[in-house]
Assembly symmetry: C2
Amino acid sequence: MANNKKFVSAITSRDEDFAKWYTDIVKKAELIDYSGVKGCMVIRPYGYAIWENIQADLDRRFKETGHENVYMPMFIPESLLQKEKDHVEGFAPECAWVTVGGQDELHERLAVRPTSETLFCEHYSKIIETYRDLPKLYNQWCSVVRWEKTTRPFLRTSEFLWQEGHTMHETEEEAREETLRMLQVYADFYKETLAIPAVVGRKTEKEKFAGAEETYTIEPMMHNGVALQGGTSHYFGDGFSKSFDITFQGRDNKQHYPHQTSWGVSTRMIGAIIMVHGDDEGLVLPPKISPIQVAVIPIAQHKEGVLDKAGQVYDRLKKSYRVKLDDSDNSPGWKFSQYEMKGVPVRVELGPKDIEKNQCVIVRRDTREKLFVSLDELETAVENALQAVHDGMYEKALKNMQDKTFVAKTFEEFCDTAKNRPGFIKAMWCGDTACEEKIKDETGGVKSRCIPFEEENLSDTCVCCGKKAKHMVYWGKQY
Amino acid sequence: MANNKKFVSAITSRDEDFAKWYTDIVKKAELIDYSGVKGCMVIRPYGYAIWENIQADLDRRFKETGHENVYMPMFIPESLLQKEKDHVEGFAPECAWVTVGGQDELHERLAVRPTSETLFCEHYSKIIETYRDLPKLYNQWCSVVRWEKTTRPFLRTSEFLWQEGHTMHETEEEAREETLRMLQVYADFYKETLAIPAVVGRKTEKEKFAGAEETYTIEPMMHNGVALQGGTSHYFGDGFSKSFDITFQGRDNKQHYPHQTSWGVSTRMIGAIIMVHGDDEGLVLPPKISPIQVAVIPIAQHKEGVLDKAGQVYDRLKKSYRVKLDDSDNSPGWKFSQYEMKGVPVRVELGPKDIEKNQCVIVRRDTREKLFVSLDELETAVENALQAVHDGMYEKALKNMQDKTFVAKTFEEFCDTAKNRPGFIKAMWCGDTACEEKIKDETGGVKSRCIPFEEENLSDTCVCCGKKAKHMVYWGKQY
């Protein structure tokens, strides 16, 4: 590794400057590079390998729930984007527009897709004829573009990678089930694969997706108490179907409009992984998606037998895990720092004394806890360590979220908490957009995160206007 | 399957109208749909599943040869594209240009990437410092755009999916080795995975990639004798390195320019699969990439025990293969046609009489040969049938290519062959671009395909001008 020197330089402390700590990590763990293209990033091999592991896990979950992958064009003619009123209003202002093709000015400009509802609907209008053609359960992995003024790697970039599911159903009930099913797939994925807890629920009218009847969201909390919209699932009703004239012959032989959903998660999740789990030593990666799950580091590797034994350990572990044996000339200390910066969940150290005792040392990335383990039990010990890392990461993140979730019953309390205690605020709300606006204005940007599925009755009145409360809402600042 | 009705309608005969036969297949096998976006296509689930299988196989080969995946921005600022003179001349005329971002006219227009040499070079200039940073062996899976006036699904579309490898090396020798290594990876993939034979070799000066020193190509022949450029691998020398100021400190402590390669294959390969293997019943898919490898069709499925037994067959086979059990209400004849149209390599039929005899019927898609097989030997028989289909497809395609490869020693012979016998022509060439131009003009578009690695000495003089011959060249029309 020629770039080792870059690893030892310490990064900014997380508690001192969270924003700088974040950008230090994305650079020093070699996740991305800034590019000459404004607002776009280069995803480097280590960052992209995380994305590949995320993709493989999610894709399996999508296929298990009956979805098929397709690929739609990356361009949307302006007239097509305009077919659904709310949708175009939401997205047209942030599109990149192609106006020249080859040598010619185009008759109609083309948006680089910001999202593909309109393309899917155009296709569905051609292939859906009867109820037998339903449901259509399609997903697409691609990149999308939303023109952004200020950008941050993974969190907000003009181009990002994502998946977008787009489905059509015979009945409203079935489409609503699908919307919630996919929200649950996301929640399971966050917990089981990323070791990230989150609040899930429904977006308010103000915060929902352009053109959707309802938007559901998964909202993990970053270590600093700020929320990240981690994934959304939308129920569209038959609004797009009507705009795009998608009809099917029903079981009653009459023409009907199908009901639609869409749902998506993006490379933004890598930002969440960094900000939920990372520490002052660098990344801490969930074992399931870490490009390297186990780093094997020989100690005093010039001594006879050490590299041989390390090679045996590597050979045994690589049958089940993504393992790296680092036998480079760098010192063990160097290597420890490097794999800590890269967030490798488990490190196996092995030196002459260990070999004498037929043991190795297993070090957890999250707690830096050391375990001396007999080489006879290597596989089991590594398996247990990886599981313990996953569980430990989840528990720690859950505790952070719980510790930073507050209740506010009065507007003063709300503003005071918003100002002094970063995190989520649970508070009652009357249902009026005006109160959301007021809260946002007076707190420097606190927005409703979601109305959870299980609401608590904290009081009877809206925390903002004092009128009768309709919902308990999670509030918070967001990336 | 609601769309069954679409399957029985016969397609145009291959020998009658090859072009119409081709478009019939892409539509009827549900590989693509035309889109409202000029020159772009919708890749439907069945078509995309073929691409996913292609990707998985190639990606494994790339990783086995040490390559890592990355993701570069989809936009290239005009000034960046202009940095390498030959390259911009080749690509600028066919770019789609973004000129508006959000609400604003851009100061500099952005090309939607037609290929990403320039982006990789910009990144490499930042991350390569010393010889220890080399080689860099990167690959990217993405979509690219080249504005096309006339388009055909998979073969020529304004947007297509592909992979592009971009590597940097310490020495010319190493870069040249990489160029040929990746050409060989493609040739192996074509043979072992797609069951497609091809001619491989070096492109002439006239036909090489914009900015490359040398371009190598793999050229399979379609059933009708027309060539398809099936994949290319380029050696760039240090031309881009100089243009992009990429240098590294060498082992001699001096600054050097690294040597570069790039190589790519695209969704165009799906067009090759159709045109090499397809027949009048539809697609014939190579078993390794077929989304469904085995279709299990119950006969007289209303009779007691048939569906149970078919279910058992399905359960046994799905452990090792991508299997579909079709127990829909459609007749067996319907189903046969459907899976033949979709090119499923092996069909297993199972009716009451078969069950009595503890047997099933295995039918090969390529030859439609039937085999009666004891259910005790199901797995072995299916394995053998799939291998036999692969081998049979390859042999058939190889014979077609051999039968349609001709030798021309005089210009008359050449023109006569070009006019009357579609296929490859082997002929000697002096090395002058003028002769290539003349041949193209006088034969209605025959171009040099490549100079093969093993040249035959057919005669001493150029087939066109009669001067001293330098090379034996494969010539042919192309898609």
